[in-house]
């Protein structure tokens, strides 16, 4: 494989990672505030369908994205209302919603199945797009990809460098203590749910209007929601680590294409499905770093200790538990 096609491959990893980044970072924000939105997989499909339908009917890609964000925010608001305000099990509500949204998407999207529609136009960054290697890798994508890449440092900055981010983390850790300090935990959780959900919705639009344009059954975004949820856990609820996981998954997905050419005798389905179990195994492997025995082994091996330390991340202590009293 020559250098040029390697760059192209890397560029398609960046493009493939965009929706996964949007979804997993959105969920990271929500879970940092202590709320689990388990409806991701269904939300992505419903938002993808809504984005395509709106963009098709109005001819405006922008309105399509707005519709997707609205759908994502609305579903998350439902989870938030049930979990935060009513104190119902967030897991149960999220699970029901993920199934309902998926079926709703297939049902409502039927008239839009397999028809031509608008797409996000490529938007090379003037000047930077001409750079060797870096140009094609990072600066000849569409606006969604740029947004997903910028979101990584942006979310990190918000969570770790702003007063609001500190309050979000505080609410996820100990909502009662946050309340004692004058923060309104339920309000913070609702805001994080809706903003996180809107990002998940954008992930759906990123599929149906950019990465896998069009609508159908299957759309191609199925399963991504679950992967995003797993990425948040194994990324230790840290935006940068979660983002690295998302890029890794995109790499596994993209790697299937050249591999299929190299091994034509292997059925194509193997390469389509392989990223999912591979990702799960990778995540399990990373999860091992939490084990005490691994920690003891790493003691006395500086490189291993650093590696184990880098993978470590604890869940927000109040994750999934609604605030008591107040």
């Amino acid at each position: 494989m020559n250098e040029f096609s390697l760059v192209l491959l890397a560029a398609s990893v960046v493009a493939t990672a965009a929706p996964i980044l949007l979804a997993s970072l959105g969920e990271t924000l929500t879970e940092r505030a202590g709320l689990i939105n388990l409806s991701l997989d269904g939300t992505i499909l419903l938002a993808a369908m809504a984005a395509f339908a709106v963009a098709h009917d109005t001819g405006s890609v922008g309105l399509g994205f707005a519709a997707a964000a609205a759908v994502g925010g609305a579903v998350a608001a439902l989870v938030g209302f049930a979990g935060v305000i009513l104190g119902v099990s967030q897991v149960a509500v999220g699970f029901v919603l993920t199934l309902m949204c998926r079926d709703l998407a297939y049902f409502l999207g039927n008239p839009y199945s397999r028809i031509q529609g608008p797409q996000v136009p490529p938007l090379p960054v003037p000047g930077l797009a001409e750079l060797p290697v870096l140009g094609p890798l990072l600066f000849r994508h569409n606006a969604v990809v740029y947004l997903s890449l910028l979101l990584v440092p942006a979310l990190w900055w918000v969570l770790y460098r702003t007063k609001w981010g500190l309050e979000v983390r505080a609410v996820g850790e100990h909502p009662e203590a946050a309340y004692a300090r004058g923060i309104a935990p339920r309000q913070v959780q609702m805001v994080c749910a809706v903003v996180g959900g809107a990002l998940v919705g954008l992930a759906g639009a990123a599929y149906s209007l950019a990465l896998k344009p069009g609508w159908g059954r299957p759309q191609g975004a199925e399963g991504i929601g679950w992967i995003a949820l797993a990425l948040v856990i194994f990324g230790g609820w840290h935006p940068v680590k979660v983002a690295l996981g998302a890029v890794l998954f995109a790499l596994l997905q993209v790697a299937g294409i050249p591999l299929q050419e190299a091994f034509p005798s292997v059925p194509a389905q193997v390469f389509q499905v392989a990223p999912f179990p591979l990702m799960i195994f990778t995540l399990l492997f990373m999860g091992l770093s939490q084990r005490e025995s691994v920690e003891r082994w790493a003691e006395g091996r500086p490189w291993a200790k650093r590696l184990v330390g880098a993978f470590r991340g604890a869940a927000p202590r109040a994750l999934g538990r609604p605030m008591k009293g107040g």
Binding site: L166, G182, G325
Partner: protein
């Protein structure tokens, strides 16, 4: 600030937690709120701090009536509280904890402010350290500094001496005295007489949600105890007995767990001994108990229980080992199950079927015998801490050979604590070996025959309780030279006698 609580009532459903409590605190004084567990102290203080709203009654600050909607409002008016369950954020650094709940200030400036305030009160702070690596006492100091930096004039401390070392207690009390001298009002909630006697100018005693009496310094211990309990509780007596065969043997055992783990511990404990484990939180006592119970394994060295190498807890139970963890609801009991369910658990003769009839009898019997305030159908999480401990004691096997207890009287008032020890020492009279940890040296000296002191994971002293004192144990706990044997007064001199 001058505080008046006037006829405060608080009802939670059918429970009447405060029944017309009135209380007055003059500016610049330290006021004690004394009472046994469940007397309504915490509820009353949460009402004053704005965390809970009273059902009826008035709060007056310097003569003005106030009605809080949130605790933040109370802080803005100068009333701050250190809650019994720390209201802080373990995953964040000390500085982040300090910053939360105030207008944004550049980190460097805030850090300087924190360090200056800490120096003033003689506190040690570690601004960049995550809170989970600090001790309870250090977290408390940080929270105190935070409230002071917000300008509070009334400081409420709910059971501040639970879980902190003797040294930290002295630092805290010195700081509170200074704050009172500066004109602040301090409310100290405690079920420990010695706290109140050491610090307070005045005291209000609560019993069953109502005011049982008031007193001013100098206090008469007997009077306070009568107000708390109706009549003073009896002190349990140590039971004599000659030690027999080795029951628990540690051979250079190393293990993880707690703050320091356990590092190279060797000792032998014999049948019929009552051994107290002393040390600051996580210095090795609990790692020791968990190894002995088979809940953890040494990564080097060995542990023998009842003459054979230790195995998992399930197996050790059959050899007569019983372990009582300090986290009653976390580890000891199953939240969500009733008292009756607990008696039906784990004792089936016929597999698959739950022995309901036998369990009902045993539950009723235990409730009567152990005076548990609850019904067989009461979920255990609805019981008070003292009653949960009573259930755990009732669930112990009839004749255990080795009892391992983690802070068996944690959070219990004097009466319940003494009652618990009476039950435990009754086991000892039947030949049971008891090994327990406790943060209270007085408790250890009261009931133990032998004391093992841990510092930073190592066993640093092994002394007879009759030949040592609080002061000597205290210096061993702090890692100073081990106490020299035999030149001290008898432990009765240091046990506070009601």
């Amino acid at each position: 600030m001058h505080i008046v609580l006037d006829d405060i009532h608080k009802r939670y459903g059918r429970v009447h937690a405060n029944r017309g409590v009135s209380l007055e605190v003059r500016a610049g004084t330290i006021h004690g709120v004394l009472g046994e567990n469940g007397a309504g102290k915490s509820t009353l203080m949460r009402i004053l701090a704005g965390y809970t709203r009273p059902t009826s009654g008035r709060i007056l600050l310097d003569g003005d009536e106030v009605r809080w909607r949130t605790p933040a409002e109370a802080v803005a008016r100068g009333v701050g509280m250190l809650y019994q369950d720390p209201m802080d954020f373990l995953a964040m650094t000390a500085l982040e904890n300090y910053a939360l709940g105030r207008p944004w200030v550049p980190a460097r400036e805030l850090r300087r402010d924190l360090e200056a305030r800490a120096a003033e009160l003689g506190f040690a702070v570690h601004p960049e350290m995550p809170l989970e690596r600090l001790t309870v006492g250090e977290r408390q100091q940080l929270e105190l500094l935070r409230l002071l930096s917000l300008g509070v004039g009334v400081l409420i401390l709910d059971e501040p001496t639970t879980g902190i070392s003797g040294v930290q207690r002295e630092i805290l009390f010195a700081a509170l005295r200074r704050l009172a001298e500066q004109g602040r009002s301090v409310l100290l909630v405690s079920h420990k007489l010695e706290d109140v006697e050491a610090l307070c100018d005045e005291v209000t005693v609560l019993r069953q949600g109502a005011v049982a009496g008031r007193a001013e310094r100098p206090f008469r211990t007997r009077e306070l105890l009568e107000m708390m309990f109706g009549q003073p509780p009896a002190v349990p007596r140590r039971v004599a007995g000659a030690p027999g065969e080795p029951v628990l043997v540690f051979r250079d055992a190393w293990a993880t767990g707690g703050r320091a783990g356990l590092r190279g511990c060797s000792t032998t404990i014999r049948e019929g001994e009552v051994v107290g484990l002393a040390g600051v939180e996580g210095a090795g006592q609990n790692a020791f108990l968990r190894l002995a119970a088979g809940l953890n394994r040494p990564y080097r060295g060995g542990v023998e229980v009842c003459g054979a190498p230790a195995e998992g807890y399930r197996r050790l139970r059959q050899r007569g080992v019983a372990f009582l963890p300090s986290g009653r609801l976390e580890e000891g009991l199953v939240a969500g199950l009733s008292v009756l369910d607990h008696f039906a658990l784990g004792r089936t003769r016929i597999p698959f079927l739950a022995p309901w009839r036998g369990a009902a009898e045993r539950a009723e019997g235990a409730i009567r015998r152990y005076r548990i305030r609850g019904e067989p159908g009461t979920p255990v999480e609805a019981l008070s801490g003292g009653n949960q401990q009573r259930v755990l004691l009732a669930l112990l096997p009839e004749r255990p050979r080795l009892l391992l207890l983690e802070s068996p009287t944690r959070g219990l008032d004097l009466e319940s604590a003494h009652w618990v020890w009476e039950q435990l020492l009754a086991h000892k009279a039947r030949g049971t070996t008891i090994v327990f940890s406790s943060p209270e040296l007085d408790e250890i000296l009261m009931v133990a025959e032998r004391v093992l002191v841990f510092h930073d994971g190592a066993l640093v002293a092994d002394v007879k309780a009759a030949e040592t004192s609080v002061a000597e144990l205290g210096s061993a706990i702090a890692g100073k030279t081990p106490p020299a044997p035999a030149r001290t007064p008898s432990p009765e001199a240091v046990v506070e006698a009601p």
